[in-house]
Symmetry: C2
Subunit: 98 residues, 2 copies
Amino acid sequence: MNEHFQTLLSRPGVRLERIVSDGQVSPPGFWYVQAEDEWVLLLAGAAALEYGDGTRLELTPGDSLLIPAGCRHRVAYTAPRTVWLALFCAAQDGGIPR
Amino acid sequence: MNEHFQTLLSRPGVRLERIVSDGQVSPPGFWYVQAEDEWVLLLAGAAALEYGDGTRLELTPGDSLLIPAGCRHRVAYTAPRTVWLALFCAAQDGGIPR
């Protein structure tokens, strides 16, 4: 199954997305470095994030975290039918428009 | 148990809260009429909302909805250990600062 993105709410400087992953991961060597802060909640399934400093973070349903703007990260693992809620908002320092 | 409010994220014009209710309801005759749009996701438990037009909406985990700024509503029912995620953001028309 393709990864599915649904925008639940969109306002100036705020975007709420529901993302359904089905085994998708970031391509090898690919890193997200975002202009916005991203708050993530894992609603179902399982996932692992990797950070630029080598840290690996396993996520199970109910786990949430803030990925600050500029933080190098990638999705290293997603289980079948993994559901994320992701809230993107302007970085606390103002950030760069995306 | 008291109702418990935790602010997960706060930015200009955006506030994300985790709310744990334990049977609490809005007082009889009380209506919320908010200056902000509120997007709500029921994470656990069960709840019912009532609107000013008499509509009653039963919520089970996974249900989400947008309560637009200015919309009269009240919480008519919450089960023990009901967990809400609530995203408050500036109304689409600009709204009134809260």
